[in-house]
């Protein structure tokens, strides 16, 4: 599968696809998209890179094992869930929202952080599964 075309294309594709996945994540609250899809797209981006450049190279790009993304994402989601208890007196999972919109992203709220957590967990889980399998294959 390591063709020249794919190889040269993938070095550009990885950042573009990752950017695209973040885009999908951020627009999720208003338009189709969200953490699940975004995470899957990001995972596919890394898998594509691994196919063309080899697993070791992709891993060196990542710098750390993707498995660490799972607890990180879970923690972010968890803290966005309990943040209303910490910052205000509202019950668990109440949405907190910033007063003013931020350019490009729009309104920022705890739901966005929750989605970010989902995004990270999905990337972590998918990559852990696929990397583990291709290493032992």
């Amino acid at each position: 599968m390591r063709t020249i075309i794919l190889k040269s294309a993938s070095s550009y594709l990885l950042p573009v696809l990752l950017l695209f996945s973040v885009f999908i994540l951020l627009r999720g609250h208003y338009l189709p998209g969200g953490g699940f899809v975004g995470g899957l797209v990001a995972a596919i981006a890394f898998v594509l890179d691994a196919f063309s450049n080899g697993l070791d190279k992709t891993k060196s790009v990542l710098k750390f094992h993707p498995g660490f993304l799972m607890p990180l994402g879970l923690l972010i989601a968890f803290f966005s869930g309990i943040s209303p208890i910490i910052f205000t007196d509202m019950p668990l999972m109440t949405g907190l929202w910033a007063e003013n919109p931020i350019p490009v992203i729009g309104y920022i709220g705890s739901a966005l952080f929750f989605d970010l957590g989902v995004y990270l967990v999905v990337i972590g889980a998918s990559l852990t599964i696929i990397f583990t399998i291709s290493e032992s294959a």
Partner: protein, 117 residues
């Protein structure tokens, strides 16, 4: 329209059940995938079918009005799809591992719990 999808759900269920009753473990996994798709379609159908009206509020509006597709089954299926990915991955690896250790993918050979069989 619904009737065709209902028949297809039936076909998915039938083929899924048939596949998981085979003796080969690979077929077992394929059967699970088909059954999972059947269940997704079933949930989707029970929310009724709407063409071209996704449950997204128009940028100018604040409340969704008029005809729209039911968002509840969609949310259910979305999680189901991701979970079934995890399930399939785990099942595939389990089969691979079993084959490596026991040198068989015949489910009939796995009918005892004894260590040395």
């Amino acid at each position: 329209m619904e009737i065709i999808l209902a028949i297809i759900t039936g076909v998915l269920y039938a083929s899924g059940v048939y596949m998981i009753m085979r003796r080969s473990m690979v077929k077992l996994i394929l059967g699970i995938i088909l059954l999972g798709n059947g269940v997704n379609l079933l949930i989707f159908l029970l929310g009724r079918i709407t063409k071209g009206e996704p449950p997204i509020i128009d940028s100018a509006e604040k409340v969704l009005e008029g005809v729209y597709a039911d968002p509840v089954p969609q949310a259910l299926i979305l999680t189901a799809i991701v979970i079934s990915f995890g399930l399939q991955a785990f099942a595939i690896i389990l089969v691979k591992r079993t084959y490596k250790v026991l040198k068989t993918d015949d489910l009939d050979q796995l009918n005892t719990t004894d260590e040395d069989s």
